[in-house]
Amino acid sequence: MLSVSNLHAAVEDKEILKGLSLEVPAGEVHAIMGPNGAGKSTLSYVLTGRQGYEVTEGSATLDGEDLLALEPNERAARGVFLSFQYPLEIPGVPALTFIRTALNAQKKARGEPEVTAPEFLKLARTKAAELKIDFDMLKRALNVGFSGGEKKRMEIFQMAMLSPRFLILDETDSGLDIDALRIVADGVNALRSPERGMLVITHYQRLLDYIKPDRVHVLSGGRIVATGGPDLALELEREGYDKYARAA
């Protein structure tokens, strides 16, 4: 599914990713853990095409298609979804309007028929109830005045509505209390399927108690320096990143 090979990327001429390679097969959940400054968020922005993140070498493909050649919205239409570490506030645009615009833009790009207003509202009501989101909140400007936890929940709601094929969760646990974490994790787990892949980026092991990864990678100094099973996350929690920071 996702195949990243020898990826080098720079921000303002400073190289952050230094030859990162990673394979996430369909149906699997991979966790990326690493110390602050290791390049975790850079990886998520490079994969989604944010301006200012310049790829200098290497490749990233989704089912064989070159992601790096696509515009951010084209990547989204191919099914790449990023749950932002710091979701943006969009004043003046109700959440429902924003999500419906996004969903129909994606469908249009894929040559699928657009959703009608009643279909969309029905879907929104169902997903909102699952994520325990007050439906009235969806009529308000997206994320404006929302708490950190509400914003994260709104990311997962958007994910559920857009039904992407490849999910990148960037520090989705930060700002969540334990109840919210459980709701968010349930939302993410509901999307696990043999056709989908997920990359869960986190600093702490806590999230991985709820979203069980198939593989755990340690990102340090812009490269994957270790890969293992779920136990690796527990080891990192116990022993910290020191040994990997030195390895990098």
Partner: protein
């Protein structure tokens, strides 16, 4: 010296220009060497319908400076009037319109400027509100890219009256829309809003001046605009709170988005306060579209032009949402959306 008298006397020296402090960003004197010949008469029957006709009880048409000069609202009467100011051709013309709203009268004034040609037009409006009168004035200025127009409204409020205004403009070769308000306090309420959406080499100048002369008056002012290409916007907002006009509550906001390197916004917010016990504030920002928000929208699958339109529509939507007349609000929202989706 005024635009109206320059047109009447055909003396370009009477036009205001950059040496006049209040006109320094909207220089007519430097632009117009010679005042054009008077515009030819135009038969209103030859015109297509105006933008607000369907909402109005009464349609008043002024063509090339000629037509009905008075709109009246009887005590306690309530009505919606569409006022169409139509310019055609390359001539010069000026019109004078008075609007009187008697005690407790209610008026929704849906004013449109509809131009085709390289005309020079001036419209002077005198609006007079009696005690407890309520007026909402919505101005949709769709002038020609070659036109030069000046609209000057003088508004006199009375105690207990309410005047709410929203001006929306796409600019012209040079255009100024001016509103001067005499605010007597006495729990009279004033809202002065504006939206400018300028492209190409268009110019729009929204100038307002409010004088609070006595206690207990409110003024709420919000102007937002978007400029692209080589367009230029001017915002001049002045609020004067005279000595003794205590408990005045006046808020002014002006916020602009500049979408190209060669577009320009000149803003001059002014608060002159001579009273002691007042609540006054103003805010002024000029910036670009939020690139982070743009990326966020694109990451969700919205193509860049659509994302830009969505965010700019939302930006000015805050002003449009304040329009009280529902039908007019829908019309101006659609008008604005059409101009932003280019």
């Amino acid at each position: 010296m005024s635009v109206a008298s320059a047109i009447r006397t055909r003396d370009a020296a009477e036009l205001p220009g950059k040496r006049d402090e209040a006109w320094r960003w909207t220089d007519l004197r430097g632009l117009i060497r010679q005042v054009p010949a008077p515009s030819e008469a135009l038969d209103p029957a030859s015109l297509p319908p105006g933008p607000f006709d369907a909402l109005a009880d009464e349609v008043v048409i002024v063509t090339n400076g000629q037509g009905a000069a008075h709109i009246g609202v009887e005590p306690g009467e309530s009505k919606t009037v569409a006022l169409r100011v139509v310019s055609r051709g390359d001539g010069a013309h000026a019109a004078r319109i008075s609007v009187d709203i008697e005690v407790s009268g209610r008026l929704t004034l849906l004013e449109s400027y509809e131009g085709e040609g390289a005309y020079l037009g001036q419209t002077g409006l005198m609006l007079s509100l009696a005690k407890d009168a309520v007026v909402e004035r919505i101005v949709l200025a769709a002038d020609d890219a070659e036109g030069v127009t000046v609209s000057q409204a003088e508004v006199g409020l009375a105690a207990g009256s309410s005047f709410a205004q929203t001006v929306l403009t796409a600019g012209a070769r040079r255009q100024r829309i001016e509103t001067l308000v005499r605010h007597p306090g006495g729990h009279a309420e004033l809202r002065l809003d504006g939206v400018y959406l300028l492209a190409d080499k268009r110019h729009a100048d929204l100038t307002t001046s409010v004088t609070h002369s006595a206690v207990d008056g409110t003024t709420q002012q919000l102007t937002k605009g978007v400029v692209r290409d080589q367009a230029r916007a001017v915002f001049q907002g002045k609020i004067i709170v005279a000595e003794g006009a205590d408990h005045t509550d006046a808020r002014m906001g002006h916020h602009a988005l500049i979408l190209s390197d060669r577009a320009e916004v000149d803003a001059k917010p002014e608060l002159e306060i001579y009273a002691d016990d007042v609540a006054c504030a103003h805010g002024n920002t000029v910036g670009a579209l939020d690139e982070d928000a743009l990326f966020y929208a694109r990451q969700r699958g919205i193509p860049e032009p659509e994302a830009r339109a969505l965010l700019t529509e939302a930006f000015i939507g805050e002003v449009i949402d304040r329009v009280e007349h529902e039908g007019a609000r829908d019309i101006v929202r659609a008008w604005a959306a059409e101009r932003l989706r280019v």
